[in-house]
Symmetry: C2
Subunit: 306 residues, 2 copies
């Protein structure tokens, strides 16, 4: 994931170009991994950084911190944020790279919010502090045939019962921007510094207007994040018109193929909720309808990211 | 995996072009998945097929068997081969697609051998019945830089301690045949119809002779499987000179870069063993030495597939 240049370079720029935020501040790095963000913060002048990582990577991070001569500034703590104890009362900054596929998959946001409520000073800052989820619609006949219709005839056998399951699984893949048929709709903006954990579950309406005559095979979700406390607004987008990241986009195939004319709109709503059995999974419901000249349709579809 | 055409088409051809093997025979399909091999066997004239699958895919397989009208010929059994009971005393044929990365990863071979010893008639056949593991050597400067040397300088920080871990992890990837610098050495042939489970752990010597002056960055392992009971020998290879499969090849990076001249040989041995803690993992040890004009070296490296 360090090789995702968009991601890591953005964090690096945020930190190195905004040293005023870090000077003599105490930082908590949530889900530190190799410790790269902690190292950036230490180099930018943080007085101390607590790097919390629950996987075996914590041992590597300790070694990396030592090798790079930051043992006096960075303390690596192996454990869950909910369970570790910090030797300070509060921290000034929480930094984290918590975003999952479809922004919310694996639900590490919950851990960041927990850390915020427990450890952040009142006027402390969270980096990044804004995350927005968007929706657009694409033509994707070729891939839909390959991924979904494939099951209609598998070496001569009808395996169409697998289609239902296949269509329920959002596909994480890179969408070519030429496939985009409609505008993008902002679904939800989350203010990480203020939101409640429950705000990550929501229903949002959308209206996607076609910019050309085409067919729609899937809706596509993506997110951007921003760091509004920087001297100049910084951030990145994982949308199909931006440089690719390891998050790619999330493709939600529709059972129907929509025959849409320029100017016509798909309207509906998306409901996003944490799965009750497995809180790392995300349940998505999409209601949509098109009342067009060549196609009148309305449907509800359920998806599960797991 | 059904989309791996080399794989599925070979099984299909083996079955459809050798119907004489299946006519009125009882077949056991080990790890049946969607049930595709069972369907092939049923269509080829098997009197009955028991499709054993332990995952939730068994439910799909049941539905697929019904949809395609084979409920009277194929019985899907959900469970582990070690635990299920068949309503017959013995089967005539065991068919399975058990091969993992590096042939042995995930160790499903063990399950097939268990099924063979428990359920196969004395003169029964196992499909496939031969599997061979090969080794060759490649030039791979670019990728080694990207995967291994990368850790020397990560956004200005020394993370070289991760290199040791990275080099221990065999990389499953497609090798370009132009990268191949030496001959291929057959390491081990397994006769699935006769071998003991312990035969999957072995030490085999190798001698890899350079066909040009070049550098060697990695050894590459791959396998082929064959069906020797067919009217004509059938099978497929997962080697870098054959059409790509989902198994790709297994790249084992060397700590050293070997400067090899045409005609010189890397000699050594590969030891393969089931991991004691986790039997699905594979431990690999490679001893190698080169006594060349431009490079004299000898080393031992350990790898873990997990």
């Amino acid at each position: 994931m360090l090789k995702d240049v968009v991601r890591t370079k953005t964090y690096q720029n945020v930190i190195y170009k905004n040293k005023f935020l870090f000077q003599n501040k105490v930082v908590l790095d949530v889900g530190a991994g190799t410790g790269i963000l902690s190292l950036f913060c230490a180099k930018a002048g943080a007085s101390h950084v607590y790097a919390v990582e629950c996987s075996h990577m914590a041992d590597m991070a300790k070694q990396i911190v030592e090798t790079n001569g930051f043992s006096d500034v960075i303390t690596v703590l192996k454990g869950k944020i909910e369970e570790i104890e910090l030797p300070v009362e509060k921290v000034d900054i929480i930094i984290s790279e918590w975003m999952g596929y479809f922004l919310l998959f694996e639900n590490m946001l919950h851990t960041v919010l927990h850390a915020r409520d427990k450890w952040l000073v009142n006027d402390g800052i969270v980096l990044p502090d804004k995350a927005s989820l968007y929706l657009t619609a694409i033509e994707d006949a070729e891939y839909k045939d390959d991924k979904i219709e494939f099951w209609n005839n598998v070496y001569g056998f009808d395996m169409s019962c697998i289609k239902k399951q296949a269509i329920m699984e959002p596909l994480v893949d890179t969408v070519d921007q030429n496939q985009i048929v409609t505008n993008s709709q902002l679904l939800k903006t989350m203010d990480i510094s203020k939101m409640a954990p429950g705000d990550a579950s929501f229903t949002a309406p959308f209206k996607l207007v076609a910019s050309r005559d085409d067919y729609i095979h899937a809706l596509v979700a993506y997110f951007d994040v921003s760091f509004t406390k920087c001297h100049k607004l910084m951030g990145f987008s994982t949308g199909p018109k931006s440089r690719a990241t390891h998050w790619k986009q999330t493709v939600l195939y529709l059972e129907d193929v929509l025959t849409i004319c320029e100017g016509e709109a798909i309207t509906g709503s998306m409901t996003v909720a944490q799965n009750k059995k497995n809180p790392r999974d995300v349940d998505i419901m999409i209601k949509y309808s098109l009342n067009g000249r060549r196609c009148i349709i309305s449907n509800v579809q359920y998806y599960k990211m797991r």
